[in-house]
């Protein structure tokens, strides 16, 4: 539990290639499209709908990481032109690293989803029923919030402590994480209303809130929020 005195990590930069730059702006829309595509299925049958959507969300998130983000351990993205000769060689080895890091991040974020599920229960999710719904909801939140974070920040204990303490600088990934949780928090608002709508069933509104929150948080983190510190007084 001891924080070593060290400089806090810097904000993550996106690869400077044109494809990565445009894809990073496209990604939140793809995530929202995924969510709305499966929305009716999730409302009709939350367990089935959420499981299917979870697989596609994992694919989408890993694709985003591989395309746009520097994997943990490769150092930060240097916005510089590389020498023409080196390019080919570097990329082939990098792709393997990226996919490997992506898979580690996927596994880690699935483990983290257990913690998220426990947190949901603490916030008032049903304790004795709807276990799969809660777990799958946590899975979605974790894939949105922590998969890219693990991908760029690794699994170092101190980094995670800083991440939980909201000490990391705001960037695409961190903005997405905060947005996911804030969105899910706000998603709880319509649950008690007596409108008798199918979409009010657990955990549809939470997942919806998380998706919308992620998209907004990531976009803010990528733009004017970038590099900012979270003030907590």
């Amino acid at each position: 539990m001891k924080i070593k005195d060290r400089a806090l990590p810097e904000a993550t930069n996106i690869y400077p290639t044109g494809f990565a730059q445009s894809y990073q702006h496209l990604h939140p829309f793809l995530v929202l499209a995924l969510g709305s595509w499966y929305f009716n299925d999730i409302v009709a049958n939350p367990i089935k709908g959420l499981s299917t959507a979870l697989v596609w969300l994992a694919v989408l998130q890993i694709a985003y990481c591989v395309t746009c983000l520097p994997p943990y351990g490769t150092g930060k993205v240097v916005v510089e032109k590389k020498k023409p000769g080196e390019k080919e060689k570097k990329r082939s080895s990098q792709v393997a690293t990226k996919i490997f890091t992506g898979l580690v991040a996927l596994i880690m974020s699935l483990i983290v989803s257990l913690v998220v599920a426990a947190t949901l229960v603490l916030f008032g999710a049903p304790m004795t029923t709807h276990h799969w719904e809660t777990l799958l909801c946590a899975g979605h939140m974790s894939l949105l919030a922590t998969l890219p974070l693990v991908y760029v920040r690794g699994v170092e204990g101190q980094t995670w402590q800083e991440a939980v303490a909201l000490l990391l600088p705001v960037d695409d990934v961190y903005g997405g994480m905060i947005g996911t949780f804030v969105g899910a928090w706000l998603g709880a608002v319509p649950v008690p209303l007596d409108w008798d709508r199918a979409w009010q069933r657990w955990p549809v509104t939470i997942v919806t809130g998380a998706y919308v929150g992620y998209a907004i948080g990531k976009s803010i983190g990528a733009t004017w929020g970038k590099g900012g510190k979270i003030v907590f007084v």
Binding site: T119, F123, G124, V164, P192, D194, V233
Partner: protein
């Protein structure tokens, strides 16, 4: 009490501190050598100064309390007009006036006040039978008939084909159009008000005189079939063998109740069974349920009405000559099939009476046809009461305001005006007797009913001028004169009981809103120590209030038509608020905007405002417990994050630990639930053994023992951290608290043994023992507790050099005397000393909670101590978040101790925990401690938020206490203002009586209780702890 050796050392330190201080001051001022005597003088001056400042803080906060009380009073008196329920019953032998005919009164056989017309009656109540369901559809324009049209023609056909045997009229309900309120009106003849203040406030059963009570009095046998609401209102009135009641709440089920009624009613109508009963009531629910489920314009409604049509035809066929048949709706339904409000569609029901004899008449041939719409020839629902009573030969119920229905008394030929005048005179006389008694009981003078009294006198004049051979016109005149009296009286009563007084409500809301602003500025908008400025504020408030009162007196003389209490209260409050406003202007350099500038300030605002705004929606009001859980966990998670950001390792670790503990405890406490009806089926009650019982399960009896075993140790650990577990704290936490908790656990075991009759024959011994145990526990908590709190020294211990190896920052080495001693417990001298009060109130409150509630309130107490640590480690004692979270916590544990904001969830039996009979003021105190125990405990804890781990030398601690308590009161004041405004704004809402009004009452009562407890117990309590510490450390 014995404190052992340290006592002399204390005095030594106290003197040394005071002396050093005095020396320094004197040296600076004059350069003279100090005299020993001066230390005592300085000490005394400091004490006097503190007492004065403290008294003024209490006085100022009390002034705020008075404003809250006035605002609530004005709003309530405009909003919840109450009707006094008189217990008098009409008696058969005592008609209200001379009969004026040959009939001899007093015999139920021939008729009490008036000759009896029918031996028996069958009353068929078709719930939600709207008038237009019963009359043929007449097309205007090109409108097509709806499904509900022309489906139930039997009543109209019978009335038009045999007008002397039947009549059909619109039957107008007094809102609210809910079945229970309607049944009260249909049987008592009174108007509904929100609160009928009577002898039994808690139960639903009707205490006042009514038709059913009169029937039972006359030894008539009543059979009831159908909706079980009747059994809640009239428990034990019905013939047990013949009666069949059905659950009324399953609105999805259209047929169970109806089939049950039909199956049982026809055997009763069979000639072989008619001798077994005198009155049969059949209450059908299918039409109402079809409306709720499908709405009126639906094939299911048509089918249901056709089924009713068929049933009614069979009943009409089977009825005998001496039986009166009444068919009626208790209310209508709106276009969606719902009801409860006061729209035309909801209040227009149908009334149909039928007899095999030629009995009914019309005053005009044009009236032979039943009215085409419900706008013509309306009959009020309360008119059924005198009509039925007189037809069956019963006295008219005492509180009745209705009139006899013309068709039933005018005779088949339509010309018996003597009879009509007689029954109207009887009814009017009873109304007059009732009004007289009511005015006496309420202490009203004649001014409110001048108009009706003059009508009464003139009607009597007309009557007295009648001779044996009066003309038709003279009799008509007498009839209409008595009728005019009845109509006027009804109008006066309606004005008195059933209307909202909007100006009063608005002046109440204005006072609450402005006092909220004053409190907000006082609590959050003053820089520095507000106890310095309180004298100015209080002085200006007093001057303003006095001027306001004078203006109020002047106004009431100038405009005598204004309500005196309203004017006084309004001027009193406004004068004071203007005075404080002027004082704020005077000290404007010290005022800053109360709008928060930090995240924690905003969080406090968001919690408070979001909760308050939510009370505008019935769903958020119903699920308040879950919302509070959400907010409290959010707070815990945010403080965990904040703790992780702390620089100092101890702050980080302690803060994170207590934040996580706080969250976990919140969630564990949330498992204790008592569901309100509206939460079903999404809530499972765990507070009692089962959802339908109000006794604890056997395993729950173990909870108080676990609490007694563990909680004192947990609290001790919060004292151990700063080595404050010294002196009286050892005696109290280590022994008295635990002993008291064990006693209270024993109480609940004995209570269960007594309730469950575990030891038959020992009931009386158990009862006596448990009451003694309860009284003993309360004596430990409050008598022994308060004397400990008042007279114990600060929890410090002096250690000499030999033990100095353990020295840490928790100890202090007094200046000027470095080598000799260290003080243990110095780091939290204020907090530890004051927090003792929290544990005392905890003991008293834990006793009066059911076993599950004892567990919940213990968790609340534990959370409070964790909150102290969280606030300290995150350095939040200056922010509003601590007092606001205590408000959330108190509100949360209100639910967790088995309560809801409904009248029915009040645990009245807690009045008998320490008493055998009702004794004032103890009985209400016990019920309040049981109901609002959680809010009381949290209010008592508020000063400790700013005292926890503060240096005894810190300046302005009294101001911090005032600030924290002001903020805590502000939280409840915002909630109260919001619930008040919503209740006023939604006064026509369907759910007003079930949801918004109870929440408003809860909010108002909680605010006043928290104000009283916060000001006198909490801030008042700091006087004792400050004095005790000031004695040792001097005044700063």
């Amino acid at each position: 009490m014995d404190y052992g050796e340290p006592l002399p050392s204390y005095e030594g330190i106290a003197a040394a501190f005071a002396k050093a201080k005095a020396d320094k001051e004197r040296d600076e001022a004059q350069g003279l050598r100090p005299a020993t005597r001066d230390a005592a003088v300085v000490q005394k001056q400091g004490e006097v100064h503190f007492k004065a400042a403290h008294g003024l803080v209490i006085a100022f906060l009390t002034w705020i309390l008075v404003l809250h009380a006035l605002g609530i009073y004005l709003f309530t008196s405009g909003f919840m007009l109450t009707r006094l329920v008189l217990d008098e019953k009409s008696e058969c032998a005592l008609p209200p006036t001379d009969i004026g005919s040959t009939h001899t009164p007093g015999s139920p056989e021939t008729g009490c006040w008036h000759p009896k017309s029918f031996e028996k009656a069958v009353v068929i109540l078709i719930d939600a039978l709207r008038y237009d369901f019963t009359v043929p559809f007449k097309s205007e324009d090109s409108e097509q008939p709806h499904h509900f049209h022309n489906a139930l023609p039997v009543l109209y056909e019978t009335a038009i084909n045999n007008p002397s045997n039947a009549f059909l009229l619109p039957f107008i309900a007094d809102p609210p159009t809910a079945t229970m309120q309607r049944l009260k009106g249909l049987t008592t003849g009174t108007l509904p008000t929100f609160v009928d203040v009577g002898s039994n406030f808690a139960g639903a059963d009707i205490g006042e005189d009514n038709v059913l009570a009169q029937l039972r009095n006359a030894s008539r046998r009543i059979v009831h079939l159908g909706d079980d609401t009747w059994h809640a209102l009239f428990p034990g009135y019905f013939e047990p063998n013949l009666t069949h009641a059905y659950d009324s709440f399953n609105v999805w089920d259209l047929h169970t109740v109806d089939n049950g009624v039909t199956d049982h009613i026809f055997p009763l109508l069979h000639p072989s069974n008619t001798s077994k009963w005198d009155v049969t009531i059949g209450h059908y629910l299918g039409v109402d349920h079809a409306g709720h489920r499908y709405g009126p314009d639906h094939p299911a409604m048509a089918a249901k009405l056709k089924q009713m049509d068929d049933t009614l035809r069979r009943i009409i066929g089977q009825i005998d000559d001496n039986t009166l048949l009444v068919v009626m709706g208790d209310h209508g339904m709106d276009s969606k099939g719902d009801h409860g409000g006061e729209s035309d569609d909801e209040i227009q029901a149908a009334l149909f009476m039928y007899s095999k004899r030629k009995f009914f008449g019309r005053s005009s041939p044009a009236f032979q046809t039943p009215p085409a719409t419900a706008k013509e020839r309306q009959v009020a629902q309360i008119d059924l009461v005198p009509t039925l009573s007189l037809l069956l030969g019963l006295p008219i119920p005492f509180n009745n305001l209705g009139a006899p229905i013309e068709e039933a008394f005018i005779g088949a030929a339509g010309d018996d005006y003597r009879n009509l005048a007689t029954v109207n005179r009887l009814t009017a006389a009873q109304i007059h007797r009732y009004q007289h008694e009511y005015a006496l009981a309420r202490g009203l003078d004649g001014s409110t009913r001048v108009s009706s009294l003059s009508l009464w006198a003139s009607a009597n004049n007309v009557w007295n001028s009648l001779g044996k051979k009066s003309t038709q016109d003279q009799l008509k005149d007498a009839y209409s004169s008595y009728s005019a009296y009845q109509i006027e009286t009804l109008k006066i009563c309606r004005d008195l009981w059933a209307r909202f007084d909007i100006p009063r409500m608005l002046s109440g809301v204005t006072i609450l809103a402005l006092s909220l602003v004053v409190l907000a500025v006082y609590a959050r908008g003053i820089d520095g120590d507000r106890s310095e400025l309180t004298p100015t504020l209080f002085a200006m408030a007093s001057i303003g209030t006095t001027i306001g009162l004078l203006i109020g007196v002047g106004t009431t003389y100038a405009i005598p038509s204004l309500a005196r209490d309203n004017t006084f209260a309004y001027c009193f409050a406004m004068g004071g608020i203007v005075g404080v406003g002027a004082a704020f202007w005077y000290i404007r350099r010290r005022i800053s905007s109360p709008i928060p500038t930090s995240m924690w300030g905003w969080l406090s605002v968001i919690f408070t405002v979001a909760l308050s705004a939510g009370f505008a929606a019935n769903s958020f009001t119903i699920w308040e417990d879950e919302i509070l859980l959400h907010f409290l966990v959010t707070f815990g998670v945010l403080t965990a994050i904040s703790s992780l950001r702390q620089k100092a390792a101890t702050d980080r670790i302690l803060g994170t630990y207590h934040s996580i503990l706080f969250v976990l405890l919140t969630r564990v406490a949330s498992l204790s639930r008592l569901c309100r009806e509206e939460q079903m089926p999404y809530c499972r009650a765990t507070y009692y053994a089962s959802a339908t019982s109000s006794t604890s399960a056997t395993w729950q009896l173990a909870i108080p023992y676990v609490v007694a075993l563990l909680l004192p140790a947990f609290i001790r650990s919060y004292y151990d951290g700063t080595l404050s577990y010294q002196g009286s704290a050892v005696l109290w936490l280590g022994f008295a608290l635990r002993f008291g908790l064990l006693l209270s656990a024993a109480y609940w075991t004995l209570d269960a043994a007594d309730d469950g009759d575990w030891y038959p024959g020992y009931g009386e011994i158990l009862k006596t023992t448990k009451i003694i145990i309860a009284q003993l526990t309360l004596a430990i908590a409050l008598a022994f507790g308060y004397s400990t709190f008042a007279w114990s020294k600060p929890f410090l211990k002096i250690e000499d050099k030999s033990k100095k190896a353990k020295a840490s920052k928790k100890e202090v080495i007094p200046e000027g005397n470095p080598s000799s001693i260290t003080i243990l417990g110095y780091a939290n001298v204020h907090g530890s000393r004051y927090a003792l009060l929290v544990t005392m109130w905890f003991l008293a409150i834990a006793l009066v909670q059911k076993p599950m509630g004892a567990g919940a309130i213990a968790i609340a107490c534990w959370q409070i101590f964790s909150l102290f640590e969280i606030i300290d480690t995150n350095k939040l004692s200056d922010t509003p978040i601590g007092p606001v979270v205590l408000g959330l916590l108190g509100s949360f544990h209100f639910f967790k101790t088995g309560h809801q904001h409904t009248l029915s969830s009040i645990q009245w039996e807690s009045a008998f925990i320490a008493l055998r009979t009702i004794k004032y003021p103890w009985t209400p105190i016990l019920v309040v401690l049981n109901t609002f125990g959680a809010q009381i405990l949290c209010a008592v804890a508020v000063p400790a938020l700013v005292l926890w781990k503060q240096s005894p030398k810190k300046r302005g601690l009294l101001g911090d206490v005032a600030k924290a308590m002001g903020t805590h009161m502000l939280f409840y004041a915002v909630v109260n203002l919001a619930t008040t405004m919503w209740a006023g704004h939604l006064r026509r809402h369907l759910m007003l009586y079930r949801i918004f009004c109870p929440r408003f009452m809860g909010g108002a009562v909680v605010l006043l209780i928290v104000d009283v407890v916060g000001i006198f117990m909490a801030v008042g309590g700091t006087r004792l702890s400050f004095l005790s510490i000031g004695e040792v450390f001097g005044w700063h």
